[in-house]
């Protein structure tokens, strides 16, 4: 985690080099164990106005399974601290589909999160990827991953529960208390608007180009020291790739995909019909918009359009 000094330099440089609009969303991501009164004050002083907290769970057993350094008590204290310093735009990240998690423990985490009335909640399904320690445990049958059915049921339940409490399910894993609390930063990715990423392995995007920085910190610094842009590679997208990306990303958000993009290809019409019949998308204002069931199939649906 950046210390107070780092944050100062970073924010001062950004404000010096780029024109920063007033009211711009300035988010910092932090884990509960990173937070203390001094840091919170530094954030505030330097114009950071949104805090995204990697809480993951309010259940100590689950936290230790996830190898997190904080306890549920520390998580609570971190939120309270931020609120007491006047952070009203707080996002809480939670994880579900943790082996061993029950409807009860998940519910408890959700309830607890809601009790702080956060502006934003992200609920991520745990993915057990190849080459991770979880995958090893899974192959040794020492943990039992969620079945598809169970994961789907947790997901649908979560969406319903949060929507009932006034949150908007605006992206596969993201909920906000109102449109003004949508993560402005992340939406740029999904809307394919330009973004600039700084730091090792950060991705940037502008018009038809996407490029990404050198992954290793050493390589990144060496390159900078030699005055060379630390870019590892760049791609220029073809029209077809642009269409594929807009479908793939559009299907992840409540904005969906412009029917014009779909209508351009006859084969897509048939797919659209099937999607409507299966209840994966709805038509709203000339756009095909995913339903909650559709969010769950966003990649599979994008595949149909590939």
């Amino acid at each position: 985690m950046l210390n107070r000094h780092h944050i100062e330099i970073l924010m001062e440089t950004v404000c010096r080099v780029f024109p920063v609009t007033s009211g711009a969303e300035v988010t910092i991501e932090a884990n509960p164990d990173d937070i203390d009164p001094v840091k919170i004050k530094t954030f505030k002083e330097h114009g950071i106005n949104r805090l995204s907290l990697g809480i993951q769970s309010f259940h100590d057993g689950e936290l230790s399974f996830l190898k997190r350094r904080h306890t549920s008590g520390e998580a609570e204290r971190a939120i309270i601290l931020a609120k007491s310093h006047g952070f009203e735009n707080i996002g809480i990240d939670l994880i579900f589909a943790i082996p061993g998690q029950t409807k009860n423990t998940w519910h408890m985490s959700l309830e607890k999160a809601l009790s702080f009335e956060p502006a934003h909640i992200s609920c991520y399904a745990l993915t057990i990827e190849e080459g991770t320690p979880f995958n090893l445990l899974k192959s040794q049958k020492r943990i039992k991953p969620f079945s598809e059915k169970k994961e789907v049921s947790f997901y649908l339940h979560t969406s319903q529960y949060l929507r009932d409490r006034g949150y908007i399910h605006y992206e596969v894993s993201n909920f906000a208390k109102g449109p003004k609390y949508y993560s402005r930063h992340n939406r740029r990715y999904w809307q394919r608007k330009p973004y600039l990423g700084l730091g090792p392995s950060a991705h940037s995007f502008k018009e038809k180009d996407r490029w990404w920085n050198i992954k290793s910190i050493k390589g990144y610094m060496d390159s900078l020291a030699r005055g060379i842009k630390p870019v590892e590679a760049k791609e220029t997208l073809t029209e077809e790739q642009i269409r594929l990306e807009s479908i793939m990303l559009g299907l992840r958000t409540e904005e969906g995909v412009d029917l014009g993009v779909i209508a351009s290809i006859p084969r897509y019409q048939e797919i659209l019909e099937n999607l409507l019949l299966s209840g994966y998308v709805e038509i709203k204002d000339g756009r095909a918009v995913p339903t909650v069931k559709g969010y769950l199939m966003a990649d599979g649906i994008a595949y149909l359009f590939s």
């Binding site: 991520y124 789907v152 995007f205 793939m248 994966y280 199939m297 990649d299």
Partner: protein
């Protein structure tokens, strides 16, 4: 020419032909002991993997006989499996004699007899050889009786040998020289060379294997392929000595190869005659009998863009497998392809595998079918080997299907279960023989259609590998046939249709629906599979969609990777056939006929 002998080794499968060829080759020191390997003439990977000969192979052996003379012996090792009998019959056309091998323990079997008849048709000298005399179970006296009674040959003329142990090899060489006549033919007559095999080489063009009957051919000659009229200048001639060995010329009586830069694949026809452009023969040699395919199946390219490439591959493949017949075919579901006829299921399997391995084709093969015969109300008779062309049922007066006589050899303890299997497969007229203690030969008449797919697999699993199975086609018999259609999401997939016996239809439909359920992966939408006869649904199964296919996170750094994954999956799509909106994998088209899905 007097010092040339052309002969084939023929026998039932596994009686030791290729092993005997090994010993003959080693005797003449054609190959370094270090480079030798068993069944050296089985050069194809598939032959070595399966331990059987698929293609005839020629090798020229230099032999110094006891009479002090030097001979050149052309040996052709042939396959024993009935599906490759066309290889045998073509080999015989180049020979004056055969070694007819009989396994000393198995005795005379179906292909011993069939191959003997083929040799007699060509008026060849037959030398019976009893092989595997080293086996403890060898029963030379019994086999001699069989040679006498069943083959009608002089049992006293039979030679004894063990190809494995190298016993009796010299006697075989001497018998070849003494008993088999030298080729007749006239070097001074115009060239006639019979093409009995060929192989396409992308650098040198078609390499033609031939037997010279009259005349001679050498480098620089202009030759004409008589059936197509194509003319080429000879670049090289030679003989087979495990490798191709160039020679100055090939003369009457010899077996060898000709390379003449034949780049147009269709110019070469197996069975055609090669002659000289300047001094042509008045008429071509008789050539070969046409092949009569037994099972039929369609081949489609997985990606329809590859149709042309498949067409070229088939043309080249056919040069090297004259038993394959094919013509254009098309299906609403699979697009353009080819309807192929095969000599049996093993042949079909080999064609599929060789096209994939040697010609790099990704193909879909439809479930094999036999050839049915329908008499229509106007009295006309139609032969149908492709369910797509099943006639209008209202017009059918009589339906017939081919029957085989199956001979199944099994240890006694399996008689019950095997009988049951045969009855399930509509077997009739069963008989039993007891060829030896503990062994039973079951004979059944059965529709060919019932054995073409997985009968042999089932038999092997029931008898734990101890059952062997042989059949011959006997006749056509009247049968109550219907066409079973398969519908995927309500859409009929023509390439999955099959013609079946009415009583078996429901069972078949249920099994087909089950197999397809196994073969077709879950997709984004629910898939309904139905089996129907004339629009009436008689079986169904459902493939439920998967319900979750999304990654939880997709931020700035994930987009490129995700898109690339989609692009990769898109390529994979090409290996599937999309019917309606359902992706059907290659294997499904073959699997509809599979009857047990466990």
């Amino acid at each position: 020419m007097k010092q040339i002998r052309n002969f084939s080794i023929i026998a039932h499968i596994d009686h030791g032909k290729s092993t005997l060829a090994d010993r003959l080759i080693q005797y003449t020191h054609l190959v370094d002991e270090r480079q030798f390997r068993n069944q050296i003439l089985d050069t194809m990977d598939i032959e070595r993997e399966r331990g059987i000969t698929i293609k005839s192979q020629t090798v020229n052996l230099p032999y110094n006989a006891k009479n002090g003379l030097y001979y050149e012996l052309n040996l052709i090792d042939t396959p024993g499996h009935v599906d490759f009998s066309y290889e045998v019959s073509r080999a015989l056309a180049s020979c004056e004699g055969v070694l007819l091998l009989v396994d000393a323990s198995q005795g005379v079997e179906a292909q011993t007899l069939a191959n003997l008849y083929a040799a007699m048709e060509h008026n060849l000298t037959i030398i019976p050889v009893i092989n595997k005399i080293d086996l403890p179970s060898a029963d030379i006296e019994r086999v001699k009786v069989e040679i006498d009674h069943e083959l009608g040959l002089d049992a006293d003329s039979a030679l004894l040998c063990s190809a494995k142990e190298g016993i009796g090899i010299e006697d075989i060489f001497e018998a070849i020289v003494e008993r088999i006549p030298p080729p007749s033919g006239d070097v001074d007559k115009p060239l006639t060379a019979l093409i009995f095999d060929a192989q396409y080489d992308s650098f040198r063009g078609t390499i033609v294997s031939c037997r010279i009957f009259d005349g001679s051919v050498r480098q620089g000659d202009t030759i004409r392929l008589m059936s197509t009229g194509a003319q080429y200048k000879v670049e090289e001639v030679g003989i087979f000595r495990l490798k191709m060995e160039p020679k100055k010329e090939l003369t009457a009586g010899m077996v060898g190869y000709i390379i003449a830069g034949i780049k147009t694949v269709s110019d070469t026809r197996i069975g055609d005659t090669i002659t000289h452009e300047m001094n042509p023969a008045p008429k071509p040699l008789p050539g070969f009998k046409e092949v009569k395919p037994v099972v039929f199946s369609s081949i489609y390219p997985v990606s329809s863009d590859d149709y042309q490439s498949l067409a070229e591959a088939l043309e080249k493949y056919k040069l090297n497998d004259a038993a394959l017949v094919y013509q254009k075919d098309s299906s609403a579901a699979l697009g353009q392809g080819f309807r192929c006829g095969f000599l049996g299921l093993l042949h079909l399997e080999i064609v599929q595998e060789r096209l994939e391995r040697e010609f790099d084709q990704s193909i879909i093969m439809t479930a094999p079918s036999v050839q049915y015969r329908f008499t229509l109300s106007d009295g006309s008779i139609v032969q149908v080997d492709n369910p797509i062309y099943y006639p209008d049922p209202a017009q059918i007066k009589k339906s017939e299907e081919p029957y085989i006589r199956a001979s199944i050899m099994i240890p006694e303890r399996y008689v019950g279960p095997v009988m049951k299997l045969c009855m399930e497969r509509r077997g009739v007229n069963s008989r039993m023989n007891y060829p030896g203690p503990g062994r039973v030969e079951l004979i059944f008449d059965m529709p060919l259609a019932e054995v073409i797919f997985d009968f042999y697999d089932r038999l092997k699993s029931i008898t734990q590998g101890y059952g062997s199975f042989d059949y011959e086609i006997v006749d056509y018999r009247e049968s109550d046939l219907v066409k079973l259609d398969i519908l995927v999401n309500g859409e009929k997939v023509d390439a999955l249709s099959m013609i079946v016996h009415r009583e078996r239809a429901r069972d078949r439909a249920v099994k087909a629906c089950e197999s397809l359920k196994e073969e077709i992966p879950r997709q984004q939408f629910k898939i309904a599979i139905q089996g129907a006869i004339g629009g009436k649904i008689i079986a169904r199964s459902t493939i439920n969609p998967y319900r979750k296919d999304v990654t939880a996170k997709c931020y700035g750094g994930d987009i490129t990777r995700k898109r690339k994954l989609l692009e990769k999956q898109k390529k994979g799509k090409k290996r599937m056939k999309v019917v309606g909106s359902v992706e059907i994998p290659q294997s499904a088209f073959m699997a509809v006929l599979r009857t047990d899905t466990e």
